[in-house]
Amino acid sequence: MDLIVQFSNVHKFFDGHEALKNINLAFNKGETTVILGPSGSGKSTLLRCINLLETPERGTLAIGDIIVDLSKPISKKERLAIRQNTAMVFQSFNLFPHMKVLQNVMEGPVTVLKEERAAAMEKGKRLLTKVGLSHKMDSYPSQLSGGQQQRVAIARALAMEPKFLLFDEPTSALDPELEGEVLKVLKDLSEEGKSMIIVTHNLSFAKEVADRILFLENGEVLFDGETKKFFDNKENDRIQSFIQSMQFI
């Protein structure tokens, strides 16, 4: 498999607290990776470091042939190049409230990728149909339910045609009834072979969709391997207790 995202010796500090400790990881093309771990373990931070929404202080981040030495100041050009390869879906959706749904999806392609309006509109409509929201094209985000807003956010991310899709707890702000419609979209994308990295608390979803699980605690990777091995784990007490505690929720 093609190697795409590579972390080497990455450290991230917040006010002296080490949020990520010497991370060495590679994320592969076509793979769905789910990052699990307790609150404060660094899983969101890790995800946000991939598109440099957080900037680690040390180490190297490589996406394809873009290699960034994190110990040096990062140029705007490098930052934009990294971001062009990724797209992020946030826990709180972060749709642009002043734009209608279709405009939200077209905004990246038109403003950043300089695509023709007509082509971007065509693509936007196609992606909204894909997430089941073609009938909401002309609505404002405030007129949509949380689940619908998150599906628009997914379409907005897809419109950038990124090599990697990043999801930061995409269903944590949704009630269980709406969670399902978003998870279904994620599952479809995974089955299409999209490269995805998902931070979530939903274990049953992770079990069903992930090709690979990362388990983080205190800024360190405690497990990195196949999904089945993670859930069948008998050796690591910490992972077992994590899985058990989640099942009572």
Binding site: L80, A87, Y140
Partner: protein, 219 residues
């Protein structure tokens, strides 16, 4: 008809005329310049270039920290001492633009800070540059949030222009003073002046309401 009534009717048009000739154009022009200053100042004070933050912080500190009338006197009566002679119009426009710019910059800065961080993050993660984020995502939302406080600053400016009477400009207030000197009816004439200011502000408030409604259509 009583004498007071006659004086009031006779005075109305001269005062209103001064409003149309001085108060309104002075307010509009100063406000337009002030808004440009305010946006630049707000962005500079949020920039990560420390010298910009310092210089524009100093500007706001000075113009918010000293009385408007004193500023007007320094510019009109004081600057000629160092060879800068300005006519009353120019001195007024400069002073009001800088003064309102300082206040409005804070209204705008507060409005930008009120926009959730997630908006910046979403736009940046699409790969937008700083200026693209500002123009496409932040500015349209800032306009809505800043309408009430910026209208406040504008209203303050309109009423503040009455100070130009003291540097020889024949605005509504100065015309009122002249009529009072002639008729000895200060209560009547100054109330009339006040009523015309109130009329102007009422129109402004109405416009604000319409603009807010328009800017909030996505809420």
């Amino acid at each position: 008809m009583s004498r007071e009534m006659e004086i009031a009717i006779e005075s109305f048009w001269p005062i209103l005329k001064a409003g149309l000739a001085v108060t309104i154009p002075l307010s509009l022009l100063s406000f337009a310049i002030a808004m440009v200053i305010a946006v630049i100042t707000a962005l500079a004070r949020m920039s990560n270039v420390s010298i910009l933050r310092y210089v524009f912080g100093l500007y706001v500190w000075i113009f918010r920290g000293t009385p408007l009338l004193v500023q007007l006197f320094i510019v009109f009566f004081g600057l000629p001492n160092i060879g800068i002679v300005l006519d009353a119009w120019t001195a007024s426009i400069i002073t009001f633009s800088l003064n309102t710019g300082a206040y409005a910059s804070e209204s705008i800065r507060a409005s930008i800070l009120a926009i959730p961080k997630g908006q910046w993050e979403a736009a940046e993660s699409l790969g937008m540059t700083y200026w693209q984020v500002l123009r496409r995502v932040i500015a349209p939302q800032t306009i809505r949030i800043s309408l009430p406080p910026v209208t406040n600053d504008f209203i303050d400016l309109v009423k503040g222009t009455s100070l130009v009477a003291s540097i020889t400009l024949a605005d509504m207030f100065m015309i009122g003073q002249q009529i009072t000197a002639r008729t000895y009816e200060p209560l009547l004439i100054y109330s009339l002046v006040a009523a015309i200011y109130l009329l102007f502000i009422t129109v402004l408030t109405f416009v604000q309401g319409r603009l807010e409604k328009y800017a909030s259509k996505y809420i």
